[in-house]
Amino acid sequence: MSYYFTILSPTDVPLFNIAFGTSKSGGDGIARFRFPDAAQNTYMTQFIIHSSLDMLEEAQWMGGNMYLKHIDTYPPASAYISAFLTPSGTRFLLLHQPPQPNLPASGAAGAGGSIGSSTMSLSSSGMGGSGLFGGSGMGSSGRTSSSSIAANPTAPQTEEAVRQFMTEVYEGYVKTVMSPFYKRGMEIRSPVFRSKVSAAGRKWL
């Protein structure tokens, strides 16, 4: 499972972003995205995540919850996007990509999918946990082993884990915002904030 987390201001200015991988089930916490063109990894994640903003703005006025759950999917890369909206309109977006295309109908992914899976097998060779993961994902019965929040991105456990993560980041964000030296729309550059976010990622995702 690979994650890309970004904070966008109400006027769509990126304030913070971080890529990380899962630390559960023997993951090493390094993001390994599978996209057709590996060189453009960062652009792709940003592109996918920003393209979900329209969905977010639609969901924003339908319910008053801060955590909007899983709002968008990008099937070609089997990327799932969850969103959290602070009351002041700042958006937290988390893109997560399970280690193996969750739906067996990956014909849509075409050539990209095949390349992606090959890179995946390369990268996962180092760690035993991930191999185990892929195996359970292959079964694709929806309910995989209890520890795998990663394998099924729309499962209630995943939603809950993401919600916990978002809530923890929100705490750090409020602390940032309360600083008198922070103005709305400024990039969050504090290394302490960054380490807090990655700690929350290790803890929940």
Binding site: W61, Y173, I188, P191
Partner: protein, 256 residues
């Protein structure tokens, strides 16, 4: 991407480039290399190793600041805003601008506190439901949020009245009344400036809250003295066209 350089020889340049980073708010000059989670030569933390991220946001929730020091500070803020000002309108605008960022912050703080202490009902009002606080989607919940929880956070009591304009021409106008605004209690306005109401600062806070929630609004403070309450102030909220349009759409969609 924005990691400061790791070489300690770069310390001087990296620290000068980072002076606006929020975590470096309370920094003594000596560089402390150990942060709680990573060692990072570019970051200087206070000698007690506590950055703003290590402090709990609810620590000061029941703490109150002294009224005298607030009055003094606010007096200075008015004096500051009064410099090279062209008129009363301009002065009120400047006060409003000082309050605006505070409103944005308070909004997040208010929700954080409500969220982290859903068991206690101190901040949750009838409008924002108890356990998971909801973002206000319609005008009325927003006004209740301002009238109740926000006012309690700021002044330790709810505002005194909340009214909707009776005139059919101005359905976008709402009024929040405070009989005795704290900000005005130690301010005596000279006769020739009797239009001035320094609660424009509070109006700015309200405007920040409205804007933060996505309700574009202009908020102004007006004197409306009565015999009983000589400093009674009315905050007039004028919501923008877009807000009223959305309000209609949401009403049709049945969103509360």
């Amino acid at each position: 991407m924005s990691h400061p350089p790791r070489r300690s020889s770069m310390l001087s340049t990296s620290s000068s480039a980072q002076t606006v980073t929020p975590s470096e708010k309370q920094v003594p000059p000596q560089p402390q290399l150990q942060t709680p989670t990573q060692s990072n030569p570019g970051l200087r933390v206070p000698s007690n190793r506590k950055t703003i991220y290590d402090r709990h946001l609810n620590r000061s929730r029941n703490a109150e600041s002294s009224r005298a020091s607030f009055a003094f500070l606010f007096g200075e803020m008015v004096t500051y805003a009064q410099r090279r000002v062209t008129g009363i309108q301009d002065l009120e605008r400047r006060l409003n601008e000082q309050g605006y960022p505070l409103g944005l912050r308070l909004l997040d703080l208010l929700f954080y506190r409500t969220m982290s202490s859903s068991s206690s009902s101190a901040l949750s009002s009838s409008s924002t439901s108890a356990s998971p606080p909801n973002r206000p989607l319609r005008i009325l919940p927003l006004l209740h949020l301002i009238h109740g929880p926000l006012w309690r956070l700021l002044f330790n009591r709810p505002a005194d009245a909340l009214e909707h304009s009776v005139s059919p021409d101005t359905p976008n106008e709402y009024m929040i009344t405070d009989n005795d605004p704290l900000v005005n209690s130690y301010i005596s306005v000279p006769k020739e400036m009797n239009q001035l109401n320094c609660a424009a600062y509070v109006a700015g806070i309200i405007e920040g809250v409205c804007d933060g929630c996505g309700f574009e609004a202009k908020v102004t403070a007006h004197n409306q003295p009565t015999e009983l309450w000589p400093s009674r102030t009315i905050f007039l909220l004028r919501f923008g066209e877009s807000v009223m349009e959305r309000e209609k759409v949401l009403e049709r969609a049945g969103v509360k």
